[in-house]
Symmetry: C2
Subunit: 221 residues, 2 copies
DNA sequence: AAATCTCTTTTCCTATCGGAAAAATATGCT
DNA sequence: AGCATATTTTTCCGATAGGAAAAGAGATTT
């Protein structure tokens, strides 16, 4: 007989990948549904989508039902045709900012969040799927800095001083003082805190990126 | 004879995708380099990476050099093995904002861009890989709006009125007037233009997201 | 310098992707 | 209902992904 045991050679099963057998398929199916939604959200038929992406209708059909796993080349064709970048292709497309959305923030329209040293409001809490989270804040005069209070969250942060004088404390760095009209851009993964050196409260505008906080719990910028 | 002309049937070349012939390959090569970097940044050899991901060494080798286009299944295996999610797999991991980065914008530090109706400066042009692009601008008093000048670019935009009065013109909508301290958040894929209704120039702060303009050509917000 | 070890690339071959066209299913029209 | 059109699914097959094993290409040691 010629039924020798299939000796594994390339990757020996010592540490092994978290390799589920049919989990692969179910993930592919989920992704297929995702692709379908992407297409339908744009009101496209398979034929139209085929023209935009250059893939065959049959390929799209099979991919959407998880019957096949598209290659990188095809995936990037889809991304190009649908005008989204690869990141977004896999991202929670459903959570995406609505095309043609527009929202206006009038003054004092939103809920003020109060903390000992800050008062701030998230500007468009009702819009879900925003890529950026803008907020306005007030840093109280003579606010003391407590090192244990360092804020730290995934992403990037931009702060602009609307009025007064702001002191930016960043982990492992000397404090930086910003005058009115000045701004800073930094990795918000670094611990950071705002205080003010001036005699008056400082008013700031903060825009965060990278943390999905659509409706998250009260949290300092 | 049986040499009928190869009638295109599935996708007729009427609108057609922006389908470059060998652009596909170069993108794949770039992605391959990206994969290699991901692996090497973790100090992994092909063999170790193979164990983690479950892919054959040869497959990884070929993929890293752009000799083959991995399928969705394999890509997700890599993502799982390397403990990053699919988004990040394609994200500009290499081009990413440096962890622990911090940049300060003092007043008048950057190059002013002048257009008939605007003057603006991009705040941190030197930092590459920022997720957001903040800029400050000046909208000239009595600026007239030319419909042909509608700005349109991928992504989302946040505008905050620092001083004066801003009028936001959005495609297919009535103009919206924002007073000092008010702001708007919108899909910048919609055509949009800023003017001012007031007698004085309006000063604004704009933060864009979603367009990769690391060092792009002068362009209005 | 040959031998050994480690890491990467090539080769070969089968399983699968992916396109064209036909079949099936859904939707509308008179 | 019956026909016509639009959309999706199936089928078939050539092109390609991807695994196993062998062949390079460096290092390091003896």
């Amino acid at each position: 007989m010629d039924t020798s045991p299939p000796a594994p050679t390339d990757a020996d099963p010592g540490i092994v990948a978290p390799d589920q057998p049919q989990a692969e398929e179910s993930q592919r199916i989920a992704f297929g549904r995702h692709l379908k939604k992407l297409r339908q959200d744009r009101g496209l038929t398979l034929a139209e989508c085929s023209k935009l992406t250059g893939l065959a209708i049959s390929t799209l059909s099979k991919a959407e039902r998880g019957l096949m796993a598209l290659t990188y080349d095809r995936l990037s064709q889809i991304a190009a045709g649908l005008q989204i970048d690869m990141n977004a292709l896999f991202g929670d497309e459903g959570e995406r900012f609505q095309p043609d959305s527009l929202a206006i923030a009038r003054r004092g329209e939103f809920q003020l969040q109060e903390t000992p040293n800050y008062a701030y409001e998230i500007l468009f809490p009702e819009i879900w799927g925003k890529a950026m989270t803008p907020m306005t804040g007030l840093v109280r005069a003579r606010s003391r800095m407590a090192f244990k209070e360092l804020i730290r969250h995934e992403g990037q942060e931009f702060v602009y001083v609307l009025a007064g004088q702001l002191t930016l404390h960043c982990e492992g760095r000397d404090p930086i003082t910003l005058a009115t009209g000045e701004s800073a851009y930094f990795d918000s993964g670094m611990g950071h805190v705002y205080t003010t050196a001036g005699e008056d409260d400082a008013r700031i505008l903060v825009v965060c990126f990278g943390q999905n906080l659509p409706e998250s719990q009260p949290q300092d910028p």
